[in-house]
Amino acid sequence: MVSSAVESRRRFSLGVVRPTLLAPLGIALALPLLVRFNAYFLGVAAEFVIFAIVALSLDLLMGRSGQISLGQSGFFAVGAYTTAILNARSHLDLAVALPAAAALAALSSLIVGFPAERLRGHYLGIVTLGFGVAVAQIALKWSALTNGDEGVRLETVRLFGVDVGAPLHMYYVALAVLVATIAFSFNLARTRLGRAFAAVRDSEIAASAMGVPVARTKMLAFAISAALAGVAGGLLAALDGFIAPEDFGITQTLLFFAMVIVGGLDSIAGAIGGALIVEIVSQIAAATNGLSLLILGSTIVVVALYFPSGLKGIFARLAPDAER
């Protein structure tokens, strides 16, 4: 705690740029070469990067601020539909559509963030779960806007006027967003806001006694998290070129949830590792419906019972000296 207070006096830093972390970045940059530009693998890799962004957004909420969200697929869906509809109807560039996705998702988060001031624990879980289901229902039934279960098909996806529809291009676009998200998440811990998040997480009563505006802090946590998830949703719409309501059901929320729990809360590496595990299990078990849910659900139960801090905890035990 003391060290983080001292650290916080430093200005914004790209603290992520450490030798041990340059290796994964190098691999990520060179990945298209390693898979010989195979479109299938690039698509899977881009999807993983997008899910890692969602996992980070959920970690911001659950790990950093102690707020539970079982409706992350709702924010993800708002971003995806915003991007898809702006693209299909108004032919807007991603440079405009993605910020719009972030803004609308953040706005939608007020629906749960506003009453969240008074809600905690189970009630917040129920309300956010209801939010996710309601968004999926709107996507399915408000056909005039969303085409209902026929989904929305995107036209040529452009970023600053350049066609980036191919999996290779979308992989690099998503990777850039992921790196920015990591840098943001890493630096958040040393800002006033980041410390307010931690204070609310650890004790709302103590936080408000110290002068932290609890209600506003919770709403901000939801808004930032939703904006990130919304951008990720927009990226997925651009990558797949097509979205439909079934991409955003309870199952998707549960998968996002699995990522942060398996990876370990309050850990950037944990969230990304969790997203990687979920993506690998989903791809391997894709042949049998339900199998990946069964495996991941059982994993969550085992993790919660025996490894309460997830992957993060397992690595910490293996290498006690390493920081998170």
């Binding site: 102690g66 189970h122 879980g125 209801g130 009563i205 059901g249 949830f257 419906n289 991941l296 019972l305």
Partner: protein
């Protein structure tokens, strides 16, 4: 406007299901202070047991319902004994995480074993409809009322007039004192989970002919059940039943007069409103937070 009585009656029949779902949630919550997010998935598993009994074993409906309830009871008892007992002192977050893990695992297991294709669930009750003036009570509605009445009545008798019921009420009030009085915490908790999941099984069996049998059939009923429980103050049986019936009527009114497809969304909006105005529901007491 002459259709309003019909809408209200149909709403009450639909609301009976939400009331049953809410009762299951509350029996478990009162005893263990855990909200079981896997309640819907567990109910679905029990409904598949009933489906198997009806269509493969050709059992009569009463036995199929009994099979589903027994399966739900056994599932609840084993989940509590094997898993949740270890988490009695864990944080709310951890407990929620475990029930969500169970939600995924059970949903996945049902999907992997039985597939995701919807299955037609046989009509449960092929007797004639009742007519009261302009109001028609479909056989399905009568069955819903009858089962809600029987199970709610049974629960009330159990909680008011048996030692087990006394034990359950005691551990809700004060676990420590209850144990000093000789209440077996482990046995009572396991039975509470058994009863709660059995109620979820009954709910799913009653819902299945309408929704058709799919792994996701309980997703929205679970949300309605949560809404009913919250509106009812999250604690008393009468609150849960009234909450369920009210939500059912509102839902049916919204379906008829506003937007048939967005009923869940609108009911969810009402929930937010209720939570904002009265965070403890209409039947709950305000509890001061101690530091």
């Amino acid at each position: 406007m002459e259709i309003i009585p019909q809408i209200v009656v149909s709403g009450l029949a639909e609301g009976s299901l939400f009331a049953l779902a809410a009762l299951g949630i509350i029996v478990i919550f009162n005893a263990s202070q855990i909200v079981n997010f896997a309640q819907g998935a567990m109910g679905v598993a029990a409904a598949y047991v009933a489906w198997f009994s009806l269509t493969v074993l050709h059992l009569p409906f009463v036995l199929a319902l009994a099979a589903a309830i027994t399966f739900g009871f056994a599932l609840g008892v084993s989940v509590e004994t094997l898993l949740l007992r270890r988490l009695q002192d864990a944080s709310t977050m951890t407990q929620m995480v475990v029930t969500l893990g169970l939600f995924m695992a059970i949903l996945g297991a049902v999907g992997a074993l039985c597939g995701y294709n919807p299955r037609a669930f046989p009509e449960l009750w092929s007797q004639h409809s009742f007519e009261f003036g302009s109001v028609i009570l479909r056989p399905q509605d009568t069955l819903n009322f009858a089962i809600l009445g029987t199970l709610a009545g049974g629960l009330t008798l159990l909680f008011r007039h048996t030692k087990l019921g006394l034990a359950m009420r005691a551990i809700t009030q004060d676990r420590f004192a209850a144990r000093l009085m000789g209440v077996s915490l482990t046995r009572t908790l396991a039975l509470a989970w058994g009863i709660g999941v059995a109620l979820a099984g009954a709910t799913a069996v009653l819902a299945a002919p309408v929704t058709t049998l799919t792994p996701g059939m309980m997703d929205s009923i679970l949300i309605y059940g949560f809404v009913a429980a919250i509106v009812g103050g999250f604690g008393t049986f009468s609150g849960a039943i009234v909450g369920g019936l009210v939500v059912g009527v509102i839902d049916n009114l919204v379906k008829t007069f506003l937007a048939p497809e967005l009923s869940l969304t609108i009911v969810f909006g009402l929930l937010l409103l209720v939570l904002y105005v009265r965070p403890n529901g209409f039947f709950g007491r305000r509890v001061a937070q101690k530091v």
